[in-house]
Amino acid sequence: MQTNLADFIKDTPEGREADAILRTCVHCGFCTATCPTYQLLGNELDGPRGRIYLIKQVLEGQPVTQKTQMHLDRCLSCRSCETTCPSGVKYHRLLDIGRAVVEQRVGRSVLEKATRFLLCEALPRPWVFKPAVKIGHLMRPLLPSILADKVPMPSENAPKPWPQPRTHKRRMIALPGCVQPTLTPNTNAATARVLDKLGIELFEPAGTGCCGALRYHLNAHDQALEDMRRVIDAWWPHIENGSVEAIVMTASGCGAHVKEYGDMFKHDPAYARKALRISELTRDASEIIAAEQSRLVELLRAASAGVGQRVAFHSPCTLQHGQKIRGVVESLLAAAGYELSPVADPHLCCGSAGTYSITQPTLSKQLRDNKLAALGAGSPAVFVTANIGCQTHLQSGSATPVRHWIELIDERLAH
């Protein structure tokens, strides 16, 4: 596509990257077909091709208003378009660059600023988020339904403990994450138990906090980089001494982001090397377990757990589009004896998308309800997913339990 970037950006690293991305787009429009918001709204401006055009005109120096900002805000960053794109357009990078410029140019209303400030400050900090959720539970009957829906219910099953510390030769790092320890503490515990049985010790170095994705996608790039540096600093001693073979991600949203640390710090001399190494070591939990599948199958056979339930799997966008991991969790669940219920339009986002459910409640709810209908079509007993955001978002609209797939594997092994 023809480009003519304006002076304010054309010679910056962001400008050069944006120009290269724009020039790979041939405007074929295939992306609109799999874009969740274009499917709902039918407006070119609410699909990837239109958003690319909106960003292009901003970067070319055309006037920009809240209209452009609204259409960019509506993007879920689900990256379904990247899976569909035959030309290899790195849409999410262009979007990050475009959103940051628009944020500077257009600004936000007081209410939007306050919401974004709260999200930026509360969610990434477990010591703020945890008491807030507790208060939310107490207040729930008094809250209006739009807010009450957002307060996750306390988990009915108390988390089972981590395995007794054992010294395995193979060691891996886990990220507790920001909201996961409060909302679904069993996820990392279950991962640790499964890995323990596979002869791998999982541990959580202290002082990490949020991986940075949350603030990054709220256009608070500087604060996000602080989060990322803190994570890198907490992990680096364990990586430098060569004692860990991988970093395991149990939330695919964090995984997709940490896998890009290398890219995001490539112009930072102090962190470039460390960030790249961390990205190289980062794996989704499904990649780790799949690599041990033969051992897992032996263990499952020994556990003789019989036939599992019928389950419907929702593959998070950060897993299937962001990390391009497809069919792996499904095959692990099948190997563990679960029957997979078919799900229509599996490429579509559930509407969770980080803080999207709070910033874009109407679209988010439509997408959630569509996804729940697709998941429920085959009457499964459980919905399973691979990311904390999707898990709590889907649960907010359904009586069917929504769980992390690793918990199901863990339960089969516990028989």
Binding site: M1, Q2, T3, N4, R23, T24, C25, V26, H27, C28, G29, F30, C31, T32, A33, T34, G42, N43, E44, L45, R49, G50, Y53, L54, Q57, Q62, P63, V64, T65, K67, T68, T84, C85, P86, S87, G88, V89
Partner: protein
Amino acid sequence: MSIDSNFSDPRFAVDREALIARLRKVLPVQALLIEDEELRPYECDGLTAFREMPLLVALPENEAQAQALVKVCYELKVPIVPRGAATGLSGGAMPHRDGVVVSLAKLKKIIKLDPVARTAVVQPGVRNLSVSEAAAPFNLYYAPDPSSQIACTIGGNVAENSGGVHCLKYGLTVHNVLRVRGITADGEIAEFGNAALDAAGYDLLALMNGSEGLLALITEVTVKLTPKPELAQVVLASFDNVTKAGDAVASIIAAGIIPAGLEMMDKKATHAVEPYVKAGYDMNAEAILLCESDGTPEEVAEEIGRMKAVLEKSGASEIRVSQNEAERLKFWAGRKAAFPAVGRVTPDYLCMDGTIPRKRLAEMLIAIADLSQKYGLRCANVFHAGDGNLHPLIMYDANQPGEVERAADFGADILELSVAFGGTVTGEHGVGVEKINVMAVQFSLSEISAFHRLKAAFDERGLLNPGKGIPTLARCREYTQTRAGAALSAPRF
């Protein structure tokens, strides 16, 4: 590239504010886009070389809103440019500077699917592929399958009379549509065709197919559904030179075989697509052919045997037959993604759409290679070879001064050569703005005049998609004069 003449038509002196005020009364607030910022992403379709800012964009949510807006435009003499998914490659949905772009993307319901009658009634914004997806539980599908079928919509398919890799055996859109409902320029609802065979009077249904938005705004289409064949297999044949591959195509047809699809890609095309699709194409081959057979397992086995024999005799250097459905789809996936995948090796391309007699494919490929040298631009070739429908992809960089003009001249040479070879300027992408000049090469002035009279019978004020499809007589004279001598000879068909 700028568009001249037709687009500064003094007939359309529109009072924009008055138009907005009138349209606000018939459309919901979110259905009318008026700011430059919102309009610019609508300035082109899949053909980015031709762009024009629209006066306004309207996104009606149902037929009643669409009809009301057409009536306002008729009264105020405002041009209308219909738009579907805007995946078109001839600029058919390029805006008019004095006109309203009417996007039908929100009309996306499948109204009725009748597995017994094997028909579906759909709104124009329904995606081609989603018709087949909806019909799949009944073992049926919608046969025309343009490469953009994941995104392109039925309204646009009818407007362009779209084809696809399977149209060799199953026909173009015109052969798979039973009824079209639309709004004429004066805002009346009109229906063409019927749920049953409809032979009385002129075949206006056929006329609607390929009418490029010049005759009516399509609001509903009844399509035929085809039973899925029991089995389909595809032969993937490699050739060490393009002439052999071109001749193999002619030999297959001459042997009395009608493949379900017969496609050709040259080395530049396979090299662009393979890294993305990993279809398993032979990277050493100068050209590959994809030749499909479908039917009962016995029919397929017999036909594949005959296809292989012809391909071997034609000098194929390697022949592979898809062993299962996954492999068949993989072989096709590369072909389907070929156009945009060329975006990986070039910032921009023009996709040509000439059609020639099959026996002259090899000759055309050599001529294109010569033209590629002459213009200093690369060209990848992706052909619906079985139909003799060429899709040369001329690669250029719009950021380099003069390249787009050179690419356009290169394209015009290919189209003129197509006519000289006894073919046509378009097989399935439509004329749009892209091929409007070369229409003068294929048609005489009296034929063009007849087209104008036909248009006037539907749309006397010339409000529907003006400047597309049929050139003005003045433009024809101008073009034939400027190209005369310099250009290739252009005999009558």
